[in-house]
């Protein structure tokens, strides 16, 4: 029990015997909370004294004398409203709908058609111009800061997931990332339930449900029909695992309700897995999104949902620019916080969002000769993104030592000409998770391993990074990197992004086996 949790009760309710035992225990042992309790009592008493007035009978007497002259209104008849016959109601609905359609058609004929792209640009220009000037200052009052450590952890986890999401190219990976995000939200909600009522709890439960409904189900519906049975099974298995690990029952009604909402969301998603016909991409008003203040976690989730369901690369880049601009102040505040977890990686992940969410789709869209309107739109997005990066660089100059490291990574990664690894493509990123190869060399200083593998009968050299875990595992078995001899046959288990080795076994294997495992 922390002071913050106890203070929630102190500020919202009068102390009494029905308070949770852990809150009462904390209050008895914590001098800070006791002091706050005393201050609150003193303030409440002071307010009561401040608003007390001497008795004054005159206005009451005046009121009662006036009442004698004023007549009362007629009582309302409490007869239940008559329901018209069902056929009449349906008829009225249909007539109304037909009238609306006719009216819309008439308006459509009368008003000159407006080009879609033009309309979109009119809506978008204003906020972009405003945002460019002083991003942090303008957004600071609209930001909903992440208060607790677990809020910050969720924010960090969601940034990481989004950095992965913008690099995915297949439904399978997108679904996995969205499920991971949902799981992050679920675990955050469970942590909040375990720690007592929190303002953020309903929002977190809602985010969880939204990720499953508008994220996972939509991706499943959009996946190729052949892949759907396998994907459904995988999703179902994951959801069952998540449902099994739900929070224990709680006597507090508010918490019990939220816990039930969490379970219902999981259950409903499982039920809808077999009825994907009605699942559609949710329509979102971008205009509303831009003006409403939004907690950073919500912005990250909205981005994930919209980005994953969008197929047009220019629209993807545009969306990503919007959200990057929206999230940048939160990122800077986060990076400036010395207690923020995984601060160093965050800058890099944010840069990856810019690189793979904005520049890469723009490159794809403009690779061939695009139409002039698309080219203009792509140029505008490119300029906005460049402005965002320039803002980051500007803040980097004034940044403290602690936050500079993360920023540098972010700015470095966001460069479209960055020498970093390209995003995993179908050939590279979706290769087998387990590969068999002959050891060529091990570089202890850089923690990398190079193996020769056979792909379609041709030999190829591949270099992978070694994770810290694997280094410690090798050490535990008294099996040092030096023990690996050139020419040894090894089976390497790779990380999700196929960049790092997470497990090494000596022996004969095959890439086909690895591919099976991967499936």
């Amino acid at each position: 029990m922390k002071c913050r949790e106890s203070q929630y009760w102190l500020y919202s309710f009068q102390p009494n015997a029905a308070w949770p035992a852990d809150v009462v225990a904390h209050l008895q042992g914590c001098s800070t909370c006791q002091q706050l309790q005393g201050q609150l009592r003193q303030i409440d008493q002071g307010i009561n004294e401040l608003t007390s007035l001497p008795a004054n009978e005159a206005p009451v007497a005046q009121l009662l004398s006036r009442i004698e002259e004023i007549p009362q209104a007629q009582p309302t008849t409490i007869a239940p409203p008559r329901q018209p016959a069902a056929w009449l109601r349906y008829g009225a609905y249909l007539t109304g709908a037909a009238a609306l359609i006719a009216f819309g058609w008439l308006i459509g004929r009368l008003v000159e058609p407006v080009e879609t792209i033009k309309t979109v640009e009119v809506v978008r220009e204003m906020p972009v111009e405003v945002i460019r000037e002083k991003t942090v200052e303008i957004f600071r009052d609209k930001l909903v800061p992440a208060h607790s450590q677990s809020d910050r952890s969720l924010f960090a986890a969601l940034v990481k997931r989004n950095a992965q999401l913008v690099q995915t190219s297949q439904s399978e990976d997108r679904i996995e990332t969205l499920l991971n995000m949902a799981d992050d939200c679920r675990q955050h909600a469970l942590a909040l339930i375990a720690n007592g009522p929190r303002d953020a709890l309903p929002l977190t439960v809602d985010q969880y449900a939204q990720l499953l409904r508008d994220g996972v189900l939509v991706q499943l519906a959009q996946a190729p029909e052949l892949d759907q049975p396998t994907l459904k099974t995988a999703v179902k298995t994951r959801l069952l695992r998540m449902a099994d690990a739900d929070a224990p029952a709680t006597p507090v009604k508010i918490l019990a309700d939220q816990r039930e909402a969490l379970q219902t969301a999981t259950q409903q998603t499982m039920e809808r897995l077999d009825q994907l016909e009605g699942v559609n991409v949710p329509v979102r008003s971008k205009k509303v999104q831009r003006h409403e203040p939004m907690p950073p976690t919500s912005a990250l989730i909205q981005f994930a949902l919209t980005f994953s369901s969008e197929t047009d690369p220019v629209m993807k880049a545009d969306l990503c620019t919007d959200y990057v601009q929206r999230l940048m102040p939160s990122m800077m505040l986060y990076l400036a916080d010395d207690a923020a977890p995984q601060r160093d990686e965050m800058g890099q992940q944010f840069g990856e969002m810019i690189q793979f969410g904005i520049y890469r789709p723009l490159q794809v869209a403009t690779a061939k000769q695009p139409p002039q309107s698309m080219k203009a739109q792509a140029d505008r997005i490119f300029q906005n993104a460049a402005q965002t990066v320039a803002d980051m660089e500007k803040h980097l100059e004034q940044a403290s030592e602690g936050m500079r490291f993360g920023f540098e990574k972010g700015v470095g990664k966001s460069n479209p000409e960055s020498k970093g690894k390209s995003p995993p493509t179908k050939e590279g990123g979706k290769g087998p998770r387990t590969i068999h190869g002959v050891l060529k060399s091990v570089n202890g200083a850089n923690s990398t391993i190079t193996v020769t593998t056979k792909v379609q009968g041709k030999e190829a050299e591949s270099t992978y990074a070694l994770t810290k875990d694997i280094l410690s595992a090798i050490g535990a078995k008294a099996f040092k990197l030096g023990d690996l001899k050139t020419g040894m046959e090894l089976n390497l288990r790779l990380s999700e992004d196929r960049r790092m080795v997470i497990d090494i076994n000596q022996g004969r294997g095959s890439n086909e086996k690895g591919q099976k495992e991967n499936k």
Binding site: Y8, Y11, S12, F13, Q14, N16, A18, W19, L36, Q39, L40, Q42, I43, D44, G46, I47, N48, E49, L50, T51, S52, L53, A55, N56, P59, V60, Q62, L63, L64, R66, I67, E68, I70, P71, Q72, A73, Q74, P75, T76, I78, D199, V252, I254
Partner: protein, 193 residues
């Protein structure tokens, strides 16, 4: 009384009968209701307006409207919420009419149980500071907080009076108290140092 997060308010068993009788035009029954609620309404309005005369005028207007419209009240158990809601509307109307928002500060009174000139001075200063802190509160927070602390209404009723959700009502009370503590703590620290 308060149980867990929800207060259980004990009301006079006769109140429902008075409301029923008053809605049929019984002035004596309405006089009893005025007797019960006059001070509560006046005090709440005084906390919101900061002016005694204005609070009394608005309270009169509230009860007159209540008397006129009492026959339209369907559920007699909701009389208190209904009355406070009328008071809120009357206050908003009065504020709109006057075109100003609380220019006169709440007058403070020295508590009687303090003895000695120094104590009196400190107590007076504390009340003065508290008065400033209350004035700094946004009116929607002040309205919710005063209903909670003076009238000890449950959040469900506060929410119904202010036309917001129960969670919003709790949030407003919470923010009001946080703001008051913040202002007063800095003052207490200064005084101690």
């Amino acid at each position: 009384l308060e149980k867990g997060s929800e207060r259980i308010t004990v009301r006079s068993p006769d109140e429902s009968n008075w409301v029923r009788a008053a809605s049929r035009g019984d002035q004596a029954a309405f006089a009893r209701l005025v007797d019960c609620y006059w001070e509560k309404i006046r005090r709440w309005l005084y906390g919101l307006t900061g002016k005694q005369h204005m609070a009394e005028d608005v309270a009169q207007e509230t009860f007159l409207k209540a008397w006129t419209n009492l026959p339209t009240l369907r559920e007699v158990e909701t009389f208190r919420v209904w009355l406070f809601r009328i008071a809120r509307h009357c206050w908003l109307d009065a504020r709109r009419r006057s075109g100003v928002q609380r220019k006169v500060p709440l007058p403070y009174e020295l508590p009687g149980n303090q003895t000695g000139p120094l104590n009196e001075m400190i107590a007076g200063e504390t009340q003065e500071k508290l008065q400033v802190a209350v004035e700094l509160l946004p009116s929607k927070y002040r309205a919710a907080y005063l209903l909670w602390t003076q009238e000890e209404l449950p959040y469900s009723e506060i929410a119904a009076i202010l036309g917001v959700s129960e969670e919003t009502a709790r949030w407003r009370v919470c923010k009001a108290r946080q703001s008051l503590v913040q202002t007063m703590t800095s003052y207490w620290h200064c005084r101690e140092s």
